[in-house]
Every structure is written in structure tokens, then in C-alpha cells.
Amino acid sequence: MMARLARLRLNALVGGTLLLIALIAALVGQFAPPSDPIKPDFLVLLQPPSWEHPFGTDQFGRDMLSRVLAGAWVSLYAATLTVIVAFLLGTTLGALAGFYGGWIDRGVSVVTETLMAFPGLLLALAIMAVMGAGLVPLVTALGLAFAPSFVRVTRALVLSLKEKEFVEASRALGNSQTYTLFRHIVPNCVSSLSVLCTTILALALLAESALSFLGLGVQPPAPSWGGMLADGRGVMVQAPWMVIFPGVAIFGALLGINLLGDALRDWLDPRMEGEV
């Protein structure tokens, strides 16, 4: 019990700190990078880490520290947008399906089941094959790929909540169905959905860096962590720092999100509490 509490606190603390560092890095990278993350400087190609360039420089002489910081903005921005798209799409459809049932429920189920019949990354790749590479296709593709999780969870939550007394009370007061759904039921789903949000945020960040690594996500010269790893892959014999630092950045951000998510899940899920 003590060990569990200690782990929870430590997880929340370490996770929160890591995420805070990532957020500060993103803000610095976007608004005040040490040097231009995009403009080439052909006088300092592939320099190893030094006081002037703590993370070294890449094959275009760009400061890797500035690029990793700017990449934090790009990657976190894309991942957060993905979660927002998946959340809005998924919870709306899931809530409607769970609340109204009938043909709406059947329709939503068919769509979700079809989407879930494809492994996540494959669906995203297929959508990007149609829409092309870039940030907007990336967010759309990943948002669609992750939406079914939100649909399922929200639908199940709404189904169990709609029989509760406070919902009856709202109906008895003469509130409309839609008002009851969005004013009383959906807000009660939020805490359970928040855990899912952290899971999907981590998966979205991972998928974004994977797709950018494959050259389908954020397009160069814009810096993204996955894209930087792809740039560094060809020259990693001469310049290992190019594949070390962006990877550490992805790892740190993911670890932060996952640790926070784990603490949140334990905190919200009473079943995991208590005796051995």
C-alpha cells in the first residue's frame, strides 16, 4: 500500500516534470530558439556537440538544440490536435449512439467496427496515401484512426449513465434530450475519458514521429522529432548525435505522458486500490 502510494506520487511528479520540460521546450522552440532551426549554415556542417552547439549541428549546419526545441512544438502540437480531433469526433458519435440507440447506434457501430478492422497505423497510412503528406492529412488520418476508441468508451459510459436518477430528474424537469445528454451525461464521462486521452496522446505522439520518420508527416525543412531521426539515419556513422538527441526527446515526452497517465488511472480507478 505504502509502496503503491509512493509509486503513484513519484510517477505523477516525474511525469509532470517531464511534461513541463517538454512544454517549456516547445514554447522556447517556437518563440525564442537559440538560433534559426530552419536556415542552413554551411560553415558548421555536422559539428559534434560543443559549447556553441550543445546538441551538435546537422548536415545543413543547423543547430540541433534549436531543432529539437522547435520539434517539441511541432510534435506536441500535432499530437494534441490529433487527440482533440479524435476526442470530438469519437465522444460525439459515441454519446449519440449510446443515448439514442436504434439506427444511430447501429450506423455508428458499423463505421467503428469497419475502422477497427484495420490496424491503426495502416488506416492512417491509407488515408495519407489519399490525402498526401503534411500536417493536416496527418492529424486527420490519426484523428480518424484513434476516434473509434473514444466512440466505444463513451458509448459504454453513456449507456450505463442514462439509467441514473439524475438523468431522470433532468428529464422530469422538462429538459430536452439533447440538453440532458450534453449538459448532464457527457460531463460525467470526462474523468473516465481523461485517462483515455493520455493514452491516445502518447500513441498519437508516437505515431506522429513514426509517420514523420517515414517522410509522410510534417514535411522538411520544418523540424519534427521523427523527421530529424530520418535525416540523421543516413549520417549516423559520422554524426551519432543527430539520432541520439531527437530520440531522447521523444522518449522523455512519451515517458512523461505515460507516467502521468498511469498515476491518473490508478487514482481514478478504485479497483486497483487497497489490499494485495
Binding site: T114, A117, F118, L122, L125, V130, A210, G215, L216, M236
Partner: protein, 313 residues
Amino acid sequence: MLRYVILRCLASIPTMFLVAVTVFVLMRLVPGDPATLMVGDVTQVERIERLREEMGLNDPLLVQFIAWMGALLQGDFGTSFINGAPVLPTLLDRFAVTAQVVAISVLLAAVIAVPLGMIAAWRQNRSVDNVIVTTSIAAMSVPSFWIGLMLILVFGIELGWLPSVGYVSLTDDLTRGIMYLIMPVAALVMAELGTILRMSRAATIEVMRLDYITHARAKGLSEADVLRRHAFPNAFAPTLTIIGLTLGALLGGAAVIETVFTLPGLGRHLIDAISSRDYPVVQGVMLLVALSYILVNLITDLLYPLFDPRVRL
């Protein structure tokens, strides 16, 4: 039991049909005209028009869909825009490579993760559990392709122990084949370990609270016997589902690892096809992966009653 098998098999047919419809619709949404893409020269209007007629692109969509489905059912996945070769034979070759890497990785990951998850559950909230859980969170946070790059950096370049990139089939030369597979498999195992471990832990925690476990302990069985003979079979059923899902997802999602190690797998084939706008190949990979994903899930579901007899009802 037979009823369950038949019903479950029948239930996957509509899903397969919906997958085919989705792929068909997606491929019609591709900007630009396939015939023009194939000819590759907008000025040859006549040739394009002839090709459109040949490919049936002027027919109504429903007619096109039926013709397309008919061809698929006969194993005709179309021909590549790039080299004009039939799509399917290459796909199957590529699939064999991916399946090999993925199957070995998921099997290894399961063999490591399932017992660890059970030990963590058995010692829930003690220090062993905390170490295992925290390590699994850390493992889940490392992108597989980055581990791959780091492995190449250390074992391929610095130490020179293993070949960095490339592929030799296990059936051609077993020892060399294994040498080439060690790093990609290691990267995938590390990446997938966490998910399976967490599921195994959660499922075991649920089971360990049930009365029959207390009963087994009261009979005086050793803890090892309780875990192995009583907790494991019940806790393994939900874990098996996750293992199946992981296996299926990796069949399409191994593209990144295949890129890192330049393995001639299906994922790499898909990425190349997307970059060169070779839509028949994109379509073929999608169908093949989605079908095998459904198939893997079907097999998992069919194995499920072996571990959880309640499902047989």
C-alpha cells in the same frame, strides 16, 4: 463448440466485406485519374480514354465494384502502375518477410511479458511490482525505430558484432538469417513488451481475488502451483486477445522497423508504393493486411474457449 466456431467464422464475413468496401472507396477518393496516372502523360488524351474504357472506369461505380470484387475473389489484385507486374506475388513475398519478423517478435515478447506480468500481479503493490510496472512504462515510451537506430549504432557500428542493415531469409541460410534478425526482433520485442505485460498483470490481479484462488491456497498448494495451474489459464485468455491484436497491428505497422533495418517487408513496400503513387499496390497491401488482421483476431477468438470455458456457451 462447433456451433461457436461456425458462428464466429460467419461473423467475420461482413467485416471483410466492409473492409473491401472501405478500401474501394478510399482508392476512388485518390485525387487524379488512375488512367492518366498510368499513362503518365496528360497530353495523350486518346490513349488515356482507351485505357479508361479498358479499365472499366467509365462504368457506374456499382458495376466497377462488382467487377473489382469478382477479380479479388479470383486472386487478381491488379497490376502495378510502376512496373506493370501483377501485385499479388510480390505482396506475398514481402508478407513472408514481415510475418517472420513479427511472429518471432510477438512470441518472444509474450514469453517474457506474460510471466513478468503475473509475478507483478502476485506481488501487487510491493517493490517487485513497482519495478516491473515502472520498467514496462519506460519500455512503452521508447519508439521502436529509435531503439533500432541505437542498436545499429552500438552493435552494428561501434562494436561491429551484427550486420546493421539487410536481410537473409532463414530458409536460405539459418545462421546468417538469424544474425540479420536479432536487432529488428530485439527492437520490436522491447516496444511491444509493455502492452502485453500490463494486460497480463491486470488480468492476473482480477483473477487472484476470486474465491477459487483462496480455495486453491487453502488446499495447501504452493504459490507456484496456484499461479501456474489455477491463475494462469484464466488470466491468459484476455492477454491472448492483446497478443493477437499486437500481432495483427504489427503486420501493417512494422513499416518503421523495416525502414530502419531495410528489411524487404510489406510495410516498406507500402511506404514505397505511397511515395510513388502506385495505388494498386497500396490497395493490395491494405487488403492483405486488413484480411490477415481479421484472420488473426478470428484465430484468437477461436482459441479463447480453450482458456475460458464460459465462452463456449
